[in-house]
């Protein structure tokens, strides 16, 4: 999950933390530079980081590689930079009558960077490759809704489930059929109302025939389908993209060449922007966030925007830690957290206090779903706690991974809880992200722990189903509510997007009753740029919008 993996980047290496980048004043996107002006051509340099995996769309789940993949691959749909609304890109049309059988028609004349046509089979082959277990693709799970996904997965036990009898029954997804060069059909296992919205994620990129003959070489120098092609990847130093001359789509860029310069620290990148050695940094270091120093350093050359990232605090499953089972206790803890002050004091205003479980940037967002439970009210919190019979355990714990910048806010949160409820609260650091996630995954972690989520596609569904549906892959608190699950299935069956969203919103409202996780705040991205470029915009994903940026 690229989104989540962005959060990983955060968690795993604080230096590259994207979340930590958020910053700036209250209004979101208010001072984005205007797209007007700026000529076509020229070259720009932007801050980059090291891709964790070969540059294959279905195996790139983190922001460092994701930023590059996004620029060099066109997908069936393109998300609008400002509203995140999907519009057809490679697709001429995506039709369905029952939310289960989809017919995709492709535009003609679109080409891969090696000059071959983008055909229906390029999608089907790519998706089959992503899904097939032994290929070990990290975003293979995106294919899960497609019929036949289960048969493409390894069934063995232990460290190598693909060995011996564990080999998958099928190599391809039965739900994908090529009709002709420009048409293919998708059949899903269950009804999925927002499938077209998902198809803009990079895991659904088409792959040229060249990929299948030599995936390893491809991973080093991918042949994409987008407005930019990759010229060179100088490992751990830079990634160079240039404009693809044969690009026929509507979402091309203005500049001729984009160089991702790889930085180890955001401070170095920031100083380079001030000195005009680097054009855009998508991360402002903490040192420049204090007192909004970056606004003096880069006057009119900065922008901030909320992103599809949410920070939550999840309660351990009841069977692991029964002390938090009563929703009243959960509500009391949530109401004891002074989000506004923490955001101001710890994050210099670079987060937006959350009022629900869904990021404001997505389609279907409804404000204030958490209601009074997410508003700071120490008196009421204490009353609620007493009503619930007090806290049974000796102390409340809030665990975090100590290898990223989470110590300050978890401690501040704990202090807030301690002062409001009069119960001891301790922020507990776990040595690193890997250990942290292992403990959560094995259901060994008690108390509360921090969880984050960055969307994969801009839909309210992405903030609910993968995290709170019974048995979902990121359901760290083992939340299970039949009514919630039922609403999600109903929403998935809705023909009308608005009706589907209404169901999802109903489901979200149930979370306020059960409180499986406490919403803390939404992420913001802050960028700064040199005086050589103009038209810098931030997408809903917190990335640079390469369609609008240009050289002055």
């Amino acid at each position: 999950m690229r989104g989540t993996a962005r959060t990983v980047a955060v968690a795993a290496m604080s230096a590259f933390a994207l979340l930590a980048a958020g910053c700036g004043s209250g209004d979101s996107g208010g001072d984005q530079s205007s797209a007007a002006g700026g000529k076509t051509g020229g070259e720009i340099t932007v801050r980059g980081c090291n891709p964790e995996n070969p540059l294959i769309p279905s195996n790139t789940t983190e922001t460092c590689g994701g930023n590059v993949i996004d620029a060099i691959f066109s997908k069936l749909v393109h998300y609008d930079a400002e509203t995140a609304k999907p519009t057809n890109d490679l697709a001429e049309s995506i039709d369905t009558t029952d939310n289960q059988n989809f017919t995709v028609k492709l535009k003609t004349g679109r080409k891969f960077h090696d000059g071959t046509d983008i055909k229906a089979k390029n999608f089907v082959d790519a998706w089959n490759y992503a899904a097939y277990g032994p290929n070990g693709q990290s975003s293979g799970y995106f294919m899960e809704p497609i019929e036949g996904f289960g048969d493409t997965q390894c069934t063995g036990e232990g460290d190598d489930p693909c060995a011996g009898a564990g080999v998958p029954k099928a190599k391809t997804l039965t739900g994908l059929k090529v009709v002709d060069d420009t048409t293919f059909t998708i059949k899903t296992t269950e009804k999925v109302s927002n499938l077209p919205v998902r198809l803009g994620y990079s895991a659904f990129s088409p792959l040229p025939d060249a990929f299948f003959t030599d995936p390893k070489a491809f991973g080093d120098k991918p042949i994409g389908s987008g407005p930019y092609k990759l010229d060179a990847w100088n490992k751990e130093q830079s990634i160079v993209l240039s404009k693809f001359a044969d690009y026929k789509g509507d979402f091309g860029g203005k500049v001729d060449k984009i160089t991702f310069k790889i930085y180890q620290q955001s401070d170095a990148a920031y100083n380079d922007v001030i000195a005009n050695n680097l054009d855009i940094t998508d991360e402002i270091p903490t040192s420049a966030l204090i007192d909004e120093k970056y606004k003096q350093d880069l006057p009119d050359r900065n922008a901030e925007k909320e992103t599809g990232v949410i920070q939550t605090v999840t309660f351990a499953p009841t069977k692991v830690d029964p002390n938090y089972a009563d929703p009243k206790i959960r509500h009391a803890i949530s109401m004891a957290i002074d989000r506004d002050t923490i955001v101001k004091q710890i994050f210099n205003g670079t987060r937006q206090p959350a009022t629900g479980w869904v990021s404001p940037v997505v389609d279907g967002y409804k404000a204030d779903q958490c209601g009074e439970w997410c508003k700071y009210d120490p008196t009421k919190a204490k009353a609620l706690l007493q009503e619930a019979g007090g806290f049974k355990g000796s102390k409340i714990t809030l665990s975090y991974n100590a290898d990223a910048a989470h110590k300050d806010w978890t401690e501040a949160t704990c202090n807030s809880i301690k002062q409001a409820l009069g119960v001891e609260c301790v922020a507990t650091g776990v040595v690193d992200f890997a250990t942290f996630r292992t403990e959560i995954g094995e259901r060994k972690m008690k108390g509360m722990f921090r969880t984050g989520w960055q969307m994969d596609y801009p839909s309210i569904e992405n903030f609910l189903a993968p995290i709170f549906k019974t048995g979902a892959s990121s359901n760290d608190g083992d939340y299970s509510n039949p009514a919630f699950d039922k609403l999600l299935s109903e929403a998935a069956a809705e023909q009308d997007a608005a009706a589907a969203n209404a169901k999802y919103q109903e489901a979200e409202a149930l979370l306020a009753v059960d409180m499986p996780a406490i919403p803390m705040w939404y992420g913001k991205t802050t960028m700064g740029w040199s005086d050589k470029v103009t038209g810098v915009k931030i997408t809903a994903f917190g990335t640079i919008d390469f369609t609008s940026v240009s050289v002055k």
Partner: protein
């Protein structure tokens, strides 16, 4: 002399092997799941996990993993990093950068440090002596990242005398000058103080008095006799420091975004990237051993009484 060098080189073999094993075992012993961080806030898919674990032999016991590593090493294959880049390629790119940086740093620290030490040693108690004593004290007490950031902000960003960051695997001497000064700054202080103390001590020694009494000029007595003897501890320090600078340039490399070995090891440790850590650290061990051998040989030149026959 020749046998001495050969003996020392032979001694290095068990040291290097032992070091690789120790480092390998330490990386192996790191707690947690090496795959967990690679797929975000959610657990990796079983398929990805299986493929990754198999690729890096992570399910095998330590002796098997180490055995495979050494076998590959014997074939000249240092393995790949956790993000699939050959370790050997990275080392080839990065070592020259750090070596250049460390060498420039050592030249700066030796040049300025010894000069300052001699000047203050000869005229101890004077204004210059006090000035250098105080300024070296200040240098020693300021952490290197403070010096680095301040130098970068004022000399790089504000005044524009130096480039703000390096970001190149073939940096010019000029590009590396500011980082090298920053990196060497603390060592300069140590070298100056070490040099001064030793010189002061040796100037009081009987043999210097004898040399002067014999009719040698003061300049010759100091330059030929006192200085040479005083240099022994300084050379020991510089030899040790060269090794330390190679591995310890993490902070400086980070500030100036120099694609060197320090940042590489740092990143690899955080990502539990065994192959990178072992490869890079083994290389550092070898450099360290060679630097120390050179220092030992220099002793013989500085003081004929120390013989390696």
């Amino acid at each position: 002399m020749g046998t001495y060098i050969i003996r020392r080189i032979l001694q290095m073999i068990p040291v290097v092997l032992g070091a690789t094993f120790l480092i390998f075992a330490m990386v192996f012993a790191l707690p947690g799941d090496p795959v967990a961080g690679k797929c975000g806030e959610r657990p990796c898919s079983p398929a990805y996990r299986a493929a990754y674990i198999q690729k890096y032999n992570l399910d095998k016991p330590l002796p098997v993993q180490y055995g495979k590593y050494v076998l590959n090493l014997a074939k000249g294959d240092l393995g790949t990093t956790s993000n699939n880049i050959p370790v050997a390629d990275q080392l080839k790119l990065r070592v020259p950068v750090t070596a250049k940086l460390a060498l420039m740093s050592v030249i700066i620290e030796a040049g300025i440090g010894i000069l300052a030490g001699v000047v203050t040693g000869i005229r101890r108690g004077g204004f210059l002596d006090n000035l250098i004593l105080v300024s070296t004290l200040v240098l020693i007490s300021i952490p290197i990242f403070v010096i680095g950031y301040v130098a970068q902000l004022y000399l790089g960003v504000k005044l524009g005398w130096f480039e703000v960051t390096v970001t190149s695997s073939t940096p010019s001497v000029y590009q590396l000058l500011l980082p090298a000064i920053v990196l060497g700054s603390v060592s300069v202080a140590y070298v100056a103080r070490l040099m001064r103390t030793n010189l002061v001590e040796n100037l009081r020694a009987d043999y210097v008095r004898t040399a002067v009494a014999k009719g040698l000029t003061k300049r010759r007595a100091i330059g030929l006799h006192a200085l040479r003897n005083s240099l022994i501890p300084v050379v020991t320090f510089i030899g040790f420091d060269f090794g330390a600078l190679l591995g310890g340039a993490v902070v400086t490399e980070g500030i100036f975004n120099i694609p060197g070995i320090g940042g590489y090891v740092f990143r690899a440790i955080r990502a539990r990237d065994g192959a990178s850590v072992v490869g890079a650290v083994t290389l550092l061990v070898i450099v360290y051993l060679v630097a120390n051998l050179l220092v030992d040989l220099l002793y013989g030149l500085l003081d004929p009484r120390i013989s390696h026959e």
